[in-house]
């Protein structure tokens, strides 16, 4: 019971709720974080001896709050803190607080904390860094490693983000239904950003950033428990689970990306897929579709196909058409074209993406897909040009390697013909 791994997991799990409640109390992010930190130190001293409290989250909030108050009283006259065992009626106060925490304002506490991290003034990278630091409690060192920057640079980035947030008008009033929905949407987008930061990493960075995907899933689950009737939050959670399930199969030993069709599906994590499928099934039962649900439904069709040739591309085409209507974007159309090429052939797919050239001309995936369609149509020279442009635009070594494989195959086929 006093196993340090257990205490660590408990502190990590309690963190979002505890920091959120302390933030409501202190109305200052730094003060809330410090109070939580203080409470954690006391937990590490106390719990191994006395056993864990009945409600660890409430204990941390209460002790964090008391410690901060003591600290402010103590300023100027160094006086020893009373040990926790002397804090009167801690048990009763804990129960009392836990009961109040079950009230609805508690979920608004957590939503507020998450919402503060996606302040519209903050660029995406700062939102992610702030969320990872404040909500997930990752160390500056861990975050710096994930973003491939120095610890000092990351420290500065987070400090700046906090200053920006503190200068803003943090929303402490209880939100109305419309506001709450808006906050929820902003927070969902931020969580998906955190996920994609981890998911898009490759090679050495993939290892350092892999836990960002786990973290995003954990945050989504937390949000879903607080807002259990929101199909879009179910969809977001399902989407991330279904995508992350493929992680063990996405890169080869050299760190090069492996396309969905070529992945060893036996490596996909079954437990995550099962949970993702259960969640998207549950979300769609509510008949209130949204972009996350549609994307999760697409991921579910891939997950359900035991072999690539079992994939229901016609249904995927339909789902992308739905997504195009909900969220028109050339990138969605480009993705749809891949499904179209499987259902109606590369000619239809090429016709679908040609009009996107002005907007996607600088996009790696556009030229990669175009090259593949041209290759399918037996136009190798044009395909080669498209692949060359894709390589020039590749953002990661894995992307470039993947395209190079196409080019190598073209060269081999060419050589065979000569």
């Amino acid at each position: 019971m006093t196993d340090p791994a257990w205490i660590d997991a408990t502190l990590a799990a309690a963190r979002p709720q505890a920091v959120a409640a302390l933030l409501r109390y202190f109305r200052d992010l730094d003060a809330a974080e410090e109070a939580f930190q203080d409470a954690c130190l006391r937990a590490l001293r106390n719990w191994p001896e006395k056993g864990p409290p009945r409600d660890p989250t409430a204990w941390l909030i209460l002790v964090g709050r008391n410690a901060a108050i003591d600290a402010s009283r103590r300023q100027g006259r160094y006086q020893a803190l009373p040990p926790e065992e002397l804090l009167s009626d801690l048990e009763d106060a804990e129960t009392d607080l836990a009961e109040r925490l079950d009230g609805s304002h508690y979920r608004d506490d957590v939503l507020r904390l998450l919402f503060i991290c996606c302040h519209p003034d903050l660029p995406a990278t700062q939102q992610i860094a702030l969320a990872l630091r404040v909500i997930s409690g990752l160390s500056v060192k861990q975050i710096a490693k994930a973003f491939l920057v120095s610890e000092a640079a990351m420290e500065q980035r987070i400090t700046r983000a906090k200053a920006r947030v503190a200068g803003g008008d943090a929303p402490f009033e209880t939100p109305g239904p419309v506001e709450r929905a808006e906050r929820l949407a902003a927070v969902a987008a931020m969580i998906y950003l955190v996920f994609n930061e981890g998911y898009s990493a490759s090679g050495a960075a993939a290892e350092a950033r892999g836990h960002l995907c786990d973290e995003a899933i954990r945050l989504a689950r937390l949000l879903l428990r607080l807002f259990s009737a929101e199909p879009e939050i179910m969809g977001l959670t399902a989407l991330m689970l279904l995508q992350h399930a493929r992680s063990p199969a996405r890169f080869d030993a050299d760190g090069a990306a492996i396309l969905l069709d070529d992945q060893d599906r036996s490596l996909w994590r079954k437990r995550m897929i099962d949970e993702g499928l259960a969640l998207i099934d549950k979300a769609m039962w509510r008949r209130r579709p949204g972009p996350y649900q549609v994307q999760a439904a697409i991921a579910a069709l891939h997950a359900r196909a035991a072999r690539p040739e079992d994939t229901d591309w016609a249904e995927i085409d339909q789902l992308y058409a739905t997504l195009e209507r909900m969220q028109p974007s050339p990138v969605v159309t480009l993705n749809r074209a891949v499904a179209v090429s499987k259902v109606h052939g590369p000619e239809a797919a090429l016709a679908m993406i040609e009009p996107l050239e002005p907007r996607l001309g600088g996009y790696f995936h556009f030229h990669g897909a175009r090259g593949a369609f041209l290759l399918g149509l037996g136009r190798p020279d044009e395909a080669r040009l498209a692949f060359d442009r894709a390589i020039a635009l590749a953002g990661t070594a894995a992307e470039a390697t993947h395209i190079r494989q196409h080019l190598d195959r073209l060269s081999r086929e060419n050589a065979a013909r000569v």
Binding site: W6, A9, D102, R225, M234, E275, W285
Partner: protein, 123 residues
């Protein structure tokens, strides 16, 4: 007598487990289960998905009401169960303690079973 050992734990904590920790807990539990199976005392074992995947049917009204989430909002959630043959409560508590060493944290509710139909599903 058959006993159900119902596993309650804070699912936030369980979801915060690292993959390695999760694998270790499952392996440690597996070792205890193997021992029980060899002794012919192990019945069905289940691990449940998080309560976020749960749906509740309130059937005390007509038509029944379908709600998202678990039946009750509690600090610790029902996350799985074991069915185990024990001679008496004393042995049931001993067995639960052994399982608890493999998976510390949370609580086990030990409930004697009234009925168990054999499963027609493949294991």
């Amino acid at each position: 007598m058959l006993y159900a050992i119902l596993c309650y734990h804070d699912e936030d904590t369980v979801c915060a487990w690292s993959q390695e920790h999760n694998d270790k807990v499952m392996a440690d539990l597996g070792a205890v289960e193997d021992k029980l199976a060899k002794a012919g005392r192990l019945g069905p074992v289940a691990r449940l998905m998080p309560t976020t995947a749960a749906t509740t049917l309130r059937k005390d009204r007509e038509p029944p009401l379908v709600l998202d989430g678990p039946f009750a909002e509690t600090k610790e959630q029902l996350l799985g169960f074991f069915v185990i043959e024990c001679v008496d409560l004393d042995q049931a508590i001993e067995t639960a303690k052994e399982l608890g060493v493999a998976n510390p944290g949370g609580s086990y509710e030990i409930r004697p079973m009234m009925l168990m139909r054999p499963s027609a599903l493949p294991a």
